[in-house]
C-alpha cells in the first residue's frame, strides 16, 4: 500500500546519495514507511556529509569530527549513534558516538540507527536487533523487522507472517494480515483483504477493517479514507472533527496536520481550524517546530505561523532532527538550522 504523497521519495533519494548501494529503507514497501510520530530525538550526534569527495561526520555546528577515509557508506544517526560502513571480509559497520569515537562495530549487510535503544541489522539476509553496545538481543532469523516503536517491532516471521515483537524478543502478536504497521498510540494499522483497521498490543482488532485506506496514528489521531474522502479518527474510532473530510490528509504532529481540500496543501489545528493558508504542492508533518513544504519544484520549511525559514530552493529535504535538517541542492548535500542558516554549505 502506498500512501498519499505526504512524504515523497526524498528521504530515500537522500540516503541513496549518502549510501550509494541498493537496499535502502524498509524490508518491504508497505504500511508505515514513514515515522512522523516517532519520539523527537534531540540527542547530540554526528551527521554524515561529503567534503572533497570524501565522507566525513560533522557535528551540529558544522565542524568535521571524523574523516571517514576508507568507508563506503553512512546512514543517518539517532540516539547519539551514527553508523558508517566499511569492507573487511564482508560489510562491517562502525557506530560513531557524538564525540567521534567508535562505540561498537558489527559485521552486517545492513545496519540502522538506534530506535528506543535497539538497533536493527540485517545479517545474511535475515534481521536481528543489537543493543547500543552491539550485543545480540535475538538470533538473526526474522524475514523482516522495523524500528522499535512504543516497545514493539513489527516483524516478519520465518513463515513470512506479520507480527509484533516485544523488547525481550518474544513475538507477542502473530496474525493473518496482508500487512501490519508500527505501534502508534497503542494501535497498529493492519491490512486485511484491501481494507484497513487497527489492532492493540494484544492483537485484538479494536478498530475493524472498515477503511479503504488508512495511515498510522500520529498525534493521537489517524487519517483514514472511506470512498473518495479522508477524515480523522481517534484511538476509539470516534471522529474528532465531526463530518469534516478532505481530499488528502496527513499526520497530526505538534498540534497541526497538513490537509488538502482543493489543489494546494494547508495546515489545520486539532479543532480543524485553518492555521496555515493553502499554498503548498506538498506538505509534511511538523518536526521540531518546522514542516517541510514544496512550492513549485522546490522545498523549504515553514514555522507553525506559516512563515518560511528561507526561500524554497532545495531539490529535496529531510525533516529536522536534533536541530538540523539535511537539504539537497544541485545534487549536493548540506545542512541548515531551524532558522534556515547553513551549518554545512552543500558541496561535493
Amino acid at each position: 500500500m502506498r500512501h498519499d504523497s505526504i512524504r515523497s521519495a526524498s528521504v530515500r533519494a537522500l540516503l541513496l546519495l549518502l549510501l550509494p548501494l541498493a537496499a535502502v529503507g524498509c524490508d518491504v514497501v508497505g504500511i508505515g514507511d514513514d515515522t512522523p510520530d516517532a519520539p523527537i530525538d534531540t540527542s547530540e550526534r554526528l551527521y554524515p556529509a561529503v567534503q572533497g569527495g570524501d565522507r566525513v561526520l560533522i557535528d551540529k555546528t558544522g565542524r568535521v569530527v571524523v574523516d571517514l577515509d576508507g568507508y563506503n557508506g553512512t546512514r543517518e544517526g539517532a540516539e547519539g549513534l551514527t553508523p558508517a560502513r566499511f569492507w573487511d571480509n564482508g560489510q562491517n559497520w562502525d557506530y560513531y558516538d557524538a564525540q567521534g569515537e567508535v562505540a561498537f562495530s558489527i559485521r552486517a549487510d545492513d545496519a540502522y540507527a538506534p530506535s528506543e535503544g535497539l538497533i536493527r541489522v540485517k545479517l545474511d539476509n535475515k534481521w536481528t536487533f543489537v543493543d547500543t553496545e552491539g550485543r545480540f538481543l535475538i538470533n538473526p532469523y526474522l524475514n523482516g523487522a522495523r524500528d522499535f516503536s512504543e516497545g514493539f517491532s513489527r516483524v516478519r516471521t520465518p513463515d513470512w507472517g506479520y507480527g509484533l515483537m516485544d523488547r525481550t524478543g518474544a513475538i507477542v502478536v502473530e496474525g493473518e494480515f496482508d500487512d501490519l504497521g508500527d505501534m502508534r498510540a497503542g494501535r497498529a494499522l493492519f491490512e486485511d483483504d484491501e481494507s484497513y483497521g487497527y489492532i492493540d498490543a494484544t492483537g485484538a482488532r479494536v478498530i475493524e477493517a472498515v477503511y479503504d485506506e488508512a495511515r498510522e496514528f500520529s498525534g493521537g489521531r489517524a487519517a483514514v479514507r472511506q470512498g473518495q474522502r479522508w477524515f480523522y479518527i481517534d484511538t476509539s474510532d470516534n471522529r474528532p472533527l465531526g463530518s469534516t473530510t478532505f481530499i488528502s490528509a496527513g499526520d497530526y504532529a505538534e498540534g497541526l496536520a497538513p490537509v488538502r481540500t482543493e489543489n494546494k496543501w494547508e495546515y489545520i489545528d486539532e479543532s480543524g481550524a485553518r492555521r496555515v493558508e493553502p499554498l503548498f504542492d506538498e506538505a509534511r508533518p511538523f518536526r521540531e517546530g518546522r514542516a517541510a513544504v514544496q512550492i513549485g519544484d522546490f522545498w523549504t520549511f515553514i514555522r507553525p505561523d506559516g512563515t518560511q525559514i528561507r526561500d524554497a530552493e532545495f531539490d529535496e529535504v529531510e525533516d529536522f532532527s536534533g536541530g538540523l535538517a539535511a537539504v539537497i541542492a544541485g545534487e549536493q548535500l548540506g545542512y541548515i538550522d531551524t532558522e534556515g542558516a547553513y551549518v554545512w554549505f552543500p558541496r561535493d
Binding site: 564482508g90 559485521r107 545479517l123 539476509n125 545480540f136 535475538i138 538470533n139 532469523y141
Partner: protein, 344 residues
C-alpha cells in the same frame, strides 16, 4: 539437518563425542569439556603449517595437507602419502599410508598401501590385525571395522572383541552403540551383547546425557530413547541429532531447533541447519552463512559470515570463507573474533 546425521557421515558426530570421552566426562552428563589442543593447521600459499592457540605461526607451511590435531598428532599428507606430524611440525610417523585417520583413542585407523585398513599406535607401528576393508576412529574404547560387508568392533589393543555381523555400526558412547541387524537397528554393549532395540528403523549414537535418537519401525518421526531403551521424551521430531553438552538439534516444522534433555527449546525452530555443541558453542546457519551460538543463552556470538564452520576444539574453531578455489581457512576464538585471518 546436517549430513552428519546420515549413516554415511557419522564421522563428524562420532569425532565430537569420542573426543569428549577421550578427556573423560563426569557422570552427570551434558557438561562442557574443553579439549587440550597444542596446534591448529593453517593453509598458506597452498601448503599447511600450524598456529598455536594465540594465532602465532609456530610451524611454517610444510605439508600438502594437515588435519586437526588429535592425541597430539596431526595426520599430514606429503605428495600422495599420509603420515603423522607432531604439533612442533616434526614427523612422528613417516608418510606411508593411503589414508590416515585421527587419534581419537590410543590407536588410529590407517589404510595401508598393501594390506587394507589397520590400526597404528603413535609410533606408526601396526597393532592388531590388518586387512580390514574399512575402519573407523575409536570412540569409548572401541572402533568399528568392516570385513566384507559386515561390521564388527576392535578394542584399543587392536583385538577383535565383537565379530563382524552387522550391516552398519555406529560409535560407542556411554557404553552403547547403534548397529544394524537383520532385525532392524539395535543398541549393543561393549561386550557385544544386545542391550535393546529390534523395533527401530533407524538409530543414532547415544550421548553424555543418556539419550539417543531413534525412529521406530514404520514411523516417519524421530524420538529419543534412554539407556534402558524406554522412550524418554513425549515429543516427536522430523529429524533428531544426538545430544552433545546437554543439547540436541532437532527438526520442527522444516526448521532446526535445539532442545535440552527435557525437550525444552534452547533455540526455537528458527535455524536452517545446525551442528553439534562442543566447548559450549554450536555452529548454526540461519540462511546461507554459518556462525556460532553460545550454550548459555542460545544467541549468536558473532554475525554469520562463514561458508563452513567446524566444531570448537581447544578454544578455537576452523572457519572457511569463500568456496572451491577461493576457499580460505581461518580460526575464530569463542567470541567469534579471528585469531587467524582466513588464508589459502
Amino acid at each position: 539437518m546436517r549430513r552428519s546425521l546420515l549413516p554415511a557421515g557419522l564421522l563428524a558426530v562420532l569425532l565430537t563425542l569420542s573426543a569428549c570421552d577421550a578427556v573423560g566426562l563426569g557422570g552427570d552428563g551434558g557438561s562442557v569439556v574443553r579439549q587440550d589442543v597444542a596446534a591448529f593447521p593453517v593453509q598458506i600459499d597452498s601448503l599447511w603449517g600450524f598456529i598455536d592457540v594465540e594465532g602465532r605461526l609456530t610451524v611454517p607451511p610444510t605439508f600438502d595437507f594437515a588435519d586437526e590435531v588429535y592425541g597430539d598428532l596431526s595426520a599430514v599428507r606429503v605428495g600422495t602419502l599420509w603420515g603423522y606430524a607432531r604439533p612442533d611440525g616434526s614427523i612422528a610417523v613417516e608418510p606411508q599410508f593411503q589414508v590416515a585417520g585421527r587419534f581419537t583413542g590410543r590407536l588410529a585407523p590407517v589404510r595401508t598401501t598393501t594390506d587394507g585398513w589397520a590400526f597404528v599406535d603413535p609410533t606408526g607401528a601396526t597393532v592388531g590385525a590388518s586387512g580390514y576393508d574399512s575402519a573407523e576412529p575409536f570412540s569409548d574404547g572401541r572402533a568399528a571395522v568392516r570385513s566384507g560387508i559386515l561390521w564388527g568392533y576392535v578394542d584399543e589393543n587392536g583385538t577383535a572383541v565383537i565379530e563382524p555381523q552387522f550391516a552398519a555400526a555406529g560409535p560407542f558412547v556411554n557404553g552403547l552403540a547403534p548397529v544394524q541387524t537383520a532385525d532392524g537397528w539395535q543398541y549393543i554393549r561393549q561386550n557385544g551383547e544386545i542391550a535393546f532395540g529390534g523395533t527401530f528403523d533407524e538409530a543414532r549414537p547415544f550421548s553424555d546425557v543418556g539419550l539417543a535418537p531413534i525412529r521406530e519401525a514404520g514411523a516417519e518421526v524421530w524420538k529419543y530413547v534412554d539407556a534402558s531403551g524406554q522412550i524418554a521424551l513425549n515429543t516427536t521430531y522430523e529429524t533428531a541429532a544426538p545430544f552433545t553438552e546437554g543439547y540436541a538439534a532437532v527438526r520442527v516444522g522444516s526448521r532446526t531447533a535445539f532442545i535440552d534433555r527435557e525437550g525444552a527449546f534452547l533455540v526455537g525452530p528458527e535455524l536452517a541447519e545446525a551442528g553439534a555443541f562442543s566447548e559450549g558453542l554450536a555452529a548454526v546457519r540461519f540462511n546461507s552463512r554459518w556462525t556460532y551460538i553460545g550454550r548459555e543463552d542460545g544467541l549468536i556470538v558473532t554475525s554469520p559470515s562463514f561458508s563452513a564452520a567446524r566444531p570448537f576444539r581447544g578454544g578455537l574453531a576452523q572457519v572457511t570463507l569463500g568456496s572451491d578455489d577461493d576457499a580460505r581457512v581461518g580460526y575464530v576464538d569463542m567470541t567469534g573474533d579471528y585469531v587467524w585471518e582466513p588464508t589459502n
